[in-house]
């Protein structure tokens, strides 16, 4: 371990939190960001997965909650989703160069959300590509995301700016350095969701269309559209799925599990509105036992109540009076 003054202060900060019950004032001591240390795990020939924490975006994890994928090609490395901040993106670039022995020649952003897209600034802007809908979404929401992430992540975000990807990705096969990638232009988790199949290894990179043992997030979701995108992905022949969040799926469980959660969520929210529950009560709804191992389930359920409930009430409750 390399000791820097900052790392030592960070250590003191953690000690302060541990002692919170004895000395409440220490809770308010300033915290300093640490150093990202992403780890690449090889999941197929020439493909590495960098796991995000299966948690909400929080200071403690530096916002590194999404999975990143590194693909080796003859011409250089391809990175999918460079993470939440400039310094995370830089760490991913170094990691990609380390494991592939080549420079990064292309970066894909699967969708607008900042835990996936904000590391783009670590790369030459000309290398960063996404669906046109994703570029459009980031033009609209990027600064708002930036405010929100700086508020929560503070120093972890140092130097991070909104870097718009080129919105030039279209569906179909593309060959990079001898490697054939099949690109799918889908939507449902957001207005533009890119999924990528590595043909040689049968590795399907689902972006946030696929969650695995981590509850799906729905801030820009259209559930019906998302379910049809999952139908499309399920029909694509593949051997394993790298989800946007959660562990590698080699047992064909992540796509059905995401579908199961979304279907349950949609039905539960409809029933809650029709049976007279309010948002608080819907957010406290029992989560079925089959989702017991799904991380941050209650947290994402309550977020989803916020995303969908007012709209469902406007749709389902009858107009009265006047």
């Amino acid at each position: 371990m390399r000791f820097s003054r900052r790392a030592m202060f960070a250590g003191l900060g953690l000690a302060g939190l541990g002692l919170a019950s004895l000395a409440p004032a220490l809770v308010y001591a300033e915290q300093f960001a640490g150093t990202y240390n992403p780890q690449a795990t090889q999941v197929a020939d020439g493909i590495w997965m960098v796991r995000g924490a299966d948690e909400p975006i929080a200071f403690a994890n530096g916002g590194a909650i999404a999975n990143t994928v590194i693909i080796a090609t003859d011409d250089g490395a391809v990175v999918v989703d460079p993470g939440p901040s400039l310094s995370y993106g830089k760490a991913i670039r170094a990691l990609a160069e380390g494991v592939t022995g080549k420079a990064v020649i292309r970066v894909y952003i699967t969708h607008l959300h900042p835990d996936h897209s904000f590391g783009a600034g670590a790369f030459d802007a000309g290398l960063v590509h996404a669906l046109s809908a994703t570029r459009h979404d980031l033009e609209r929401d990027g600064e708002g995301f930036s405010d929100a992430l700086f508020r929560v992540l503070a120093d972890w975000m140092k130097g991070t700016t909104v870097v718009l990807p080129q919105g030039d990705v279209t569906a179909g096969e593309t060959v990079i350095g001898g490697r054939t990638l099949r690109l799918f232009a889908l939507g449902g988790h957001s207005s533009g969701d890119l999924a990528i199949l590595d043909e040689a290894t049968g590795t399907l990179i689902g972006g946030d269309l696929v969650f695995h043992d981590r509850a799906p997030a729905t801030p820009h979701a259209n559930i019906a559209g998302w379910l049809s995108a999952l139908d499309r992905l399920a029909a694509v022949e593949h051997k394993q799925v790298i989800p946007g969040h959660g562990p590698l799926d080699t047992g064909n469980v992540a796509i059905p599990q995401t579908r199961d959660w979304l279907t349950w969520l949609d039905g539960m929210l409809h029933d809650a509105v029709l049976s007279g529950m309010n948002m608080t009560e819907a957010g406290a709804a029992e989560i079925p036992a089959r989702f017991a191992n799904i991380k941050v389930a209650r947290y994402e359920l309550q977020r989803s109540v916020s995303h969908f409930y007012p709209g469902l009430e406007a749709e389902l409750l009858p107009m009265v009076g006047n």
Binding site: P56, D147, A148, R151, P219, D271, L274, S275, G276, N278, M279, T280, E281, G283, A284, R298, Y299, Q302, R303, V305, S306, H307, P310, E313, A314, L316, L317, P318, M319, V320, G321, N322
Partner: protein, 264 residues
């Protein structure tokens, strides 16, 4: 002091409210809010103040949208509830609702705007004048009260103003009412948009008797929505008035909720 109080009770209570003497009579705030004494001295007239965990204030684990934060207050473990005041210490418009459930259970749910991390509390006043207070901190991004409502951004707020949706779910003894209005609920804190909000909600039964009334403030979320539980069956008339004097009314039929939940 006693002499002054006798001669000028109203003026004295205002004066006393600002004096350290009353602040010393307040219980220490378990939430450590910088605004506790300020709000307590203004709000809690007429009786002692007690932090009471029989008052349940239910907040989400995250204020996902600081414009629409659901709050439920359940004081059904207390008898003789006269008023329920919901407020957020650090909001620019601290009080959201002041509810008087004359013929209703001491239970209310609504959605509020938050402008920053703040305590959100309910203060429940009983017939003996005492105030029973509970609440918790909730984190929130800024701008809940100081960004324009969505319908102002879209520009269609006037097209749907006052539209009311709702239903009633009766179980034979009591009736749950859920209703909401289309209304921008402008706080007055957004440039060039003056304050404009629903300010009262009234529930009356078929005989015209007042069942519940509520004062509503600009910190209640756009398109305000309410859940109440009234102590009788039968059709309930809900009427709301806004700060421009417009009245919005609608009747919630006793079987309307049952029809919805049975899919008819």
């Amino acid at each position: 002091m006693r002499l002054i109080k006798t001669i000028l009770p109203a003026a004295a209570s205002v004066f006393l409210a600002a004096s350290p003497a009353l602040a010393e009579g307040l219980p220490a705030d378990p939430l450590g809010s910088p605004m506790w004494e300020y709000h307590a001295e203004k709000l809690f007239t007429g009786g002692p103040v007690i932090f009471d965990n029989r008052v349940k204030v239910i907040l989400p684990v995250i204020a996902e949208d600081q414009h629409v934060v659901p709050v439920t207050v359940d004081a059904r473990k207390l008898d003789g509830v006269k008023r329920i005041v919901v407020f957020a210490d650090l909001n620019p418009i601290p009080v959201a609702i002041d509810y008087r459930p004359m013929g209703a259970a001491p239970f209310v749910a609504t959605r509020i705007k938050l402008d920053q991390r703040t305590p959100v509390r309910a203060a429940v006043q009983l017939a003996d004048g005492s105030w029973h207070v509970a609440g918790d901190w909730i984190d929130a991004a800024g701008g809940g009260c100081s960004a324009p409502p969505l319908s102002r951004v879209r520009g269609d707020w006037a097209d749907h103003l006052g539209e009311m949706r709702g239903a009633a779910w009766s179980d034979g003894n009591s009736t749950r009412l859920r209703f909401g209005f289309r209304h921008p609920m402008d706080t007055g804190l957004v440039e060039n948009i003056p304050a404009y909000n629903i300010e009262t909600v009234r529930v009356t039964d078929a005989g015209g008797r007042e069942i519940a009334t509520m004062d509503v403030y600009g910190s209640v979320a756009e398109d305000p929505a309410f859940t109440l539980v009234v102590d009788r069956d039968g059709p309930m008339e809900v009427s709301a008035r806004d700060t421009s004097g417009l009245e919005f009314t609608g009747e919630l039929a006793p079987a309307s909720g049952k029809r919805l939940s049975s899919g008819q």
